[in-house]
């Protein structure tokens, strides 16, 4: 008879094994094969990884992903923390305002992408017309547009930042007010430093999300273009697998994305420790 906690964890563990570990192991094995979906996979040794190092499309996708992370992560953190700071006070209608801030995260990704496809449409899209920028045909504009879309979907980070802000005792601000600290001084010396551990965790988490979850907007809004400007690693992996049916090579790209994610997050973690943020 297993103990009660173990039994309670069982459904989760089964899901984890079947839905994560087994596919991950399969992908790892496939990464060393040549597999087109027809016939049995053939062992290819390190061929896929050798090809990957010389694959211009891979490096371009990795660069695109890096640009996406560099824009989306700071943008989302700043937006989430700023909204949390504005909406943490109790006031009439604050619940509605918080709901509105969270709402974009509830919209399904495909619907959100279609909405932005309309907003950015060069012929009749309100945002494109208002700003006079053709987001869908100019590479740099497309590189900005996709992270911008993600900048609104900050629901979870907002809720976590809100909780972190609310956890700072009010007496600290009262002491600061008596001490003569203006709001800006309080923000710099109390609020942000006390939220830093949470912000650092959010940053770590958001880098992982930003590297892996931008497939839908890149596919629906820009189709990876213009001129491959928004072909991020997830989209490139998808196309390699399901358009060109090179499942073996796509698996090795997935492994590469995994390694990149681990390296970036670990580097970030080391930095956070060195700066005593965590």
């Amino acid at each position: 008879m297993t103990s009660s906690p173990a039994r309670l964890a069982l459904p989760y563990v089964i899901g984890l094994v079947v839905l994560v570990f087994v596919p991950a192991a399969a992908a790892l094995v496939l990464a060393f094969t040549d597999f087109t979906g027809i016939g049995a996979p053939e062992l290819a040794g390190l061929d896929n990884f050798r090809r990957l190092l010389g694959d211009e499309a891979f490096w371009r996708s990795a660069g695109n992903s890096a640009i996406y992370v560099a824009i989306a992560v700071p943008l989302r953190l700043v937006v989430a923390v700023a909204i949390a700071l504005v909406l943490h006070r109790r006031a009439t209608g604050i619940g509605i305002a918080r709901g509105v801030a969270y709402a974009p995260s509830v919209v399904p990704d495909a619907a959100w992408a279609l909405l932005w496809l309309w907003l950015l449409n060069p012929l009749y899209g309100p945002l494109a017309i208002a700003l006079g920028v053709d987001f869908l045909t100019v590479p740099w504009a497309a590189r900005v547009a996709i992270p911008l879309m993600a900048g609104f979907q900050i629901g979870e980070a907002f809720v976590i930042a809100l909780a972190a802000r609310s956890a700072i005792p009010g007496s600290l601000y009262e002491a600061a007010a008596i001490d003569g600290a203006r709001p800006w001084f309080q923000l710099r010396h109390i609020t942000l430093p006390m939220m830093v551990p949470v912000i650092a965790i959010l940053a770590l988490r958001d880098v992982i999300v930003a590297l892996q979850v931008n497939f839908v907007p890149a596919l629906i809004v820009t189709e990876g273009g213009p001129r491959y400007a928004t072909t991020y690693l997830p989209l490139y992996i998808y196309r390699t697998a399901f358009r060109y049916f090179r499942f073996g090579y796509a698996s090795s790209l997935s492994v590469a994305l995994f390694v990149i994610t681990v390296v970036v997050v670990y580097a970030q973690y080391r930095l956070a420790r060195r700066w005593r943020l965590l």
């Binding site: 005792p169 007496s171 008596i178 001490d179 010396h189 109390i190």
Partner: protein, 336 residues
């Protein structure tokens, strides 16, 4: 500098109407004086302090500091320092940065800040803790840092909100003496809020007893003890509290109450005396004992030497001197 409240009035609006926090309070602390505001929880004493600090706005009335009306000023412009009940130290900053926070907020030069920190850390004996964070300090050390932060700015007045309530009994007694000595040395006007009447009696130059947003009496500790203005003060100050019973219990022919301190009652060994009663309960506290006696259906406490303690469930006589009786009217006010 003096701190003066005139007609300070404050109500909190709630869903079911309003709660009276301060009921037209007048209070004056002279330059260098330490005034303790004492009262049960919910009596409005903390609100009083917060209104002086400017953390709460008065509905009406005024606050003056050093003769200057500060009622409309922001907390920062009132030049007071406050010590909070839970210290309100910044957990992410070192002791040094905690102490210098107000100086940095006011953009003092780094040289001045260094001198100030040196001066107060020497005064409070916290030199060794300057580079540590509040989480690494003991309760007593945290208390000192909170005091240092208040002192370092050299404010015109200190406001202290139950600063010792987090400490254990031994440390509390020690810090109480330290705060007293410190306040004497700095001679800075201080308003000190507590619910602990021992703290009030030992610290205050004068003590203001508050209840339900009103000041019941302001007097020196000795006067408060000897000449309570009403039955509330009589019962609130002193431990065990003064016996306040209907006057007829002590054979006094008036419709009010009489009060007498437990130490002014003597039990007689032979069971005779002007009053007699049944001993229900005896609490021995070291060299003394508190004897609970039922006299004419009222419980009366006598504080007696241990040698005189009667057996529980026996009849005993009680003696007293009429000079020690306090007379209160039916409305509870002292008759003098």
């Amino acid at each position: 500098m003096s701190v003066t409240l005139e007609g300070a009035h404050k109500e909190y609006r709630t869903r079911n109407g309003s709660v009276l926090a301060l009921d037209r309070i007048d209070l004056d602390a002279a330059d260098g004086e330490l005034v303790v505001v004492v009262g049960p929880s919910g009596s409005g004493k903390t609100t009083l302090l917060r209104c002086i600090a400017g953390l709460e706005e008065l509905d009406s009335g005024s606050v003056s500091i050093g003769g200057r009306d500060v009622t409309a000023l922001r907390p920062a412009d009132r030049d007071v320092a406050m010590v909070f009940q839970e210290h309100a130290l910044y957990p992410h900053l070192s002791v040094r940065d905690n102490v210098s926070f107000g100086l940095r907020a006011r953009k003092q030069s780094s040289g001045d800040i260094r001198d100030s920190i040196e001066r107060v850390s020497d005064l409070l004996g916290i030199e060794a803790t300057l580079d540590r964070r509040p989480g690494e300090l003991s309760g007593g050390e945290r208390q000192r840092v909170a005091l240092a932060r208040a002192i370092v700015r050299e404010p015109t007045a200190f406001l202290m909100d139950e600063p010792l309530s987090d400490l254990d009994a031994e440390l509390r007694a020690y810090m109480r003496a330290e705060i007293h000595a410190l306040q004497r040395r700095l001679a800075t006007t201080t308003i000190y809020v507590t619910h602990d009447q021992v703290e009030a009696m030992t610290l205050g130059d004068r003590v203001a007893v508050v209840r339900r947003g009103r000041i019941e009496q302001v007097a020196t500790p000795v006067d408060l003890y000897d000449l309570p203005a009403n039955t509330f003060v009589a019962r609130f100050i002193g431990s065990p509290p003064m016996n306040v019973v209907p006057a007829k219990t002590f054979g006094v022919r008036t419709d009010g109450f009489v009060g007498i301190r437990p130490e002014h009652l003597r039990v007689t060994a032979d069971g005779n005396g002007p009053l007699t009663g049944r001993v229900t309960h005896v609490e021995v506290i070291g060299h003394e004992a508190i004897v609970h006696v039922i006299v004419n259906e009222e419980v009366v406490l006598a504080r007696v030497p241990r040698a005189d303690v009667p057996q529980p469930h026996t009849q005993t006589g009680i003696e007293f001197t009429t000079e020690n009786l306090h007379l209160f009217g039916a409305d509870g006010k002292a008759r003098r």
